[in-house]
């Protein structure tokens, strides 16, 4: 099967001094969820915005290729990109309040992309919008069509966002922190809904999140980003259960849980700023295992082929699996 989204060597820089994304590559296959997880400043949101072509002109984006359903986006002009956005790939943003147009009725905003991209009548577009709203679990879809975003709750707005993104049945859906602004019970419902989208439409989902619990719930595969690079990638369960990069492991250990008086483990220091001259492992300055070998870019790349961009990945005993208590994410 061919990937529907294929990114090769994507870089995003702001001037010479800051490189936010430092050459990342990944594929997303039909019906699959790839989660990009990382902390603020890791470059995860820059990655999603760069793919959608939504970064401001001050950002310098370069890539060997960004292929969506086989079409390379690199070098396309604004008009050509507009024909693909919303049609072949759509985006769901974190803040459903700020990303919906407050002065436009729900129905009008939903129909906009379909009327723009496809030769359909107003009535057909309207029917599709009502169907999708109902499908996402919104009651009285017909009535909601004429409402404004401020009349809906956060969970409902996010359902509207999802329904809107599906209007043209895009093969690729990019969701940037889609549940971060929602209550936990609402989050669960929205994540279930995204799962249904995949089952029903075979959509490939690239989900950006900082929440390892969300990764555990929805991801097929995960890419952990740190300092503008993917430091570890693999099937979600493997990465969460047996992280091989020290950063992934440290991140998992930061999650609070009842430890009966023991302090939480912390990662010392903070994320440094990287530029085009930075080399070696970006986590080395905060890693307890770091030594001179961590500066060797070639060796890091070699190791990355097996999942973790680390010269000394963590190993596990296959015999001692299981045990331990529940984690609260």
């Amino acid at each position: 099967m061919n990937p529907v989204l294929s990114v090769r060597n994507l870089k995003v820089a702001f001037g010479d001094s800051v490189q936010a994304v430092r050459g990342i590559s990944f594929d997303v296959y039909p019906g699959e969820t790839l989660c990009i997880v990382g902390e603020s400043g890791s470059g995860k949101s820059m990655t999603s915005l760069a793919i959608m072509g939504l970064l401001p002109p001050t950002a310098c984006v370069s890539a060997s290729s960004i292929c969506v359903t086989g079409k390379d986006l690199v070098g396309l002009n604004a008009g050509e990109l507009n024909r693909l956005r919303g049609h072949r790939m759509a985006m769901i943003f974190q803040e459903p309040m700020t990303s919906l147009n407050p002065s436009m009725r729900i129905g009008e905003q939903m129909m906009e992309s379909l009327l723009h991209h496809e030769r359909v009548s107003y009535e057909q577009a309207r029917t599709r919008a009502i169907d999708l709203l109902a499908w996402t679990g919104i009651s009285d879809a017909r009535v909601r069509m004429s409402m404004y975003p401020h009349q809906l709750s956060g969970g409902l707005r996010q359902r509207v966002m999802i329904a809107m993104s599906l209007m043209c049945s895009p093969p690729v859906l990019i969701a940037d922190e889609p549940t971060t602004a929602l209550d936990v019970t609402t989050q669960l419902k929205i994540l279930d809904l995204l799962g249904n989208v995949q089952k029903e439409f075979g959509t490939a989902v690239l989900l950006i999140t900082h929440d390892l619990g969300v990764v555990a719930k929805v991801a097929d595969r995960v890419a952990v980003m740190y300092g503008g690079r993917i430091v570890e990638t693999g099937p979600a369960r493997d990465v969460l259960q047996a992280p091989r990069h020290p950063y992934t492991q440290a991140l998992l250990e930061c999650l609070p849980q009842s430890r009966d008086g023991q302090p939480l483990k912390v990662i010392p220091g903070s994320i440094p700023i990287f530029n085009s001259a930075s080399h070696g492992c970006g986590f080395a300055s905060r890693c307890t295992q770091a030594d001179a070998l961590c500066d060797d870019d070639e060796r890091l790349e070699e190791q990355f082929a097996s999942g973790a961009r680390c010269v000394r990945p963590i190993r596990y005993s296959p015999l001692k699996a299981g045990g331990g208590g529940d984690n609260y994410a």
């Binding site: 019970t185 849980q257 903070s270 001692k320």
Partner: protein, 264 residues
């Protein structure tokens, strides 16, 4: 141990402003009671709109309730001004970006409570105390002349904590203090809160929607929904054996990770 914070039968109704008066009255809190013993951590959980932040505002005296009484360290909230009780009970808010004055250096921000409450001491002494408290909260003194915008989110939250503690209060009310932070930063702040509680013998009222954070920090927990207390008790028993459907649903909505394998 006596109760250091006590609220009895707190109710709060607010009337939506309307052009011709009248307006619809909404009940934000209804008959909420709580008590916290000295040195304890009370966690308050609930979804948005449950009234958990409003009860914090009532305890701090920022919002007078329609009915009910609040006692802080034996003093009735109604009979004291906010300023009188401020040295006893201090807040830390969620957003370290909007809760710090953007035009003041962080040492001035932390010294402000001292300027207001200890005007007789010298300015130099107040600044010294502020720098001292910043260091205690993990901010080195060379940062003390910086503006909030020059600091990271975690550092800013340390400033907010230092400002809350500089008057040496007995009680700190936290409203989602780590929700805006990355998980690695959250871990640092949670550890700091534990240390400070031990070193200064503090009592915390800790509001969060994150059950993991609550189970890590709190002794007792109170679950709120639509302005009412749904369930309350020791955190371990409430999380392990919830008695109400709502608490069970909240716990079920927590996304769990697969257990990690041991290393070799």
């Amino acid at each position: 141990m006596p109760d250091i914070v006590e609220a009895r039968g707190i109710s709060l109704s607010l009337r939506a402003p309307s052009l011709f008066g009248g307006g619809k009255s909404t009940e934000i809190l209804s008959n909420v009671s709580l008590s916290v013993k000295s040195g304890e951590v009370l966690g308050i959980v609930g979804e948005s709109g449950s009234g958990k932040s409003t009860i914090a505002r009532v305890l701090l005296g920022l919002q007078p309730p329609t009915a009910g009484s609040v006692t802080v360290d034996g003093r009735n909230r109604r009979e004291a001004t906010v300023k009188e009780l401020a040295p006893l009970i201090q807040p830390v808010f969620q957003d370290p970006f909007s809760s710090l004055n953007p035009s003041q250096s962080i040492v001035d921000i932390v010294a402000l409570p001292l300027d207001l409450h200890r005007p007789t001491s010298t300015k130099a002494k107040r600044q010294f105390q502020a720098v001292d408290m910043l260091e205690r909260c993990g901010l080195p003194s060379y940062l003390s002349r910086r503006l909030p915008r020059e600091l990271s989110g975690g550092q800013r939250q340390r400033v907010a904590i230092a400002r809350a503690l500089v008057l040496q209060p007995k009680i700190v009310v936290f409203d989602e203090p780590t929700s805006a932070l990355d998980i690695s930063v959250q871990a640092q702040i949670l550890n700091l809160l534990r240390e400070l509680r031990r070193d200064f013998a503090l009592t915390y009222v800790f509001i969060s929607h994150n059950l993991g954070v609550i189970s890590y920090l709190a002794d007792n927990v109170m679950v709120m929904r639509a302005g009412k207390v749904v369930e309350a008790g020791p955190v371990k028993s409430v999380l392990a054996r919830p008695t109400t459907e709502y608490t069970r649903a909240l716990i079920a909505a927590v996304l769990r990770l697969p257990n990690q394998l041991p290393e070799v």
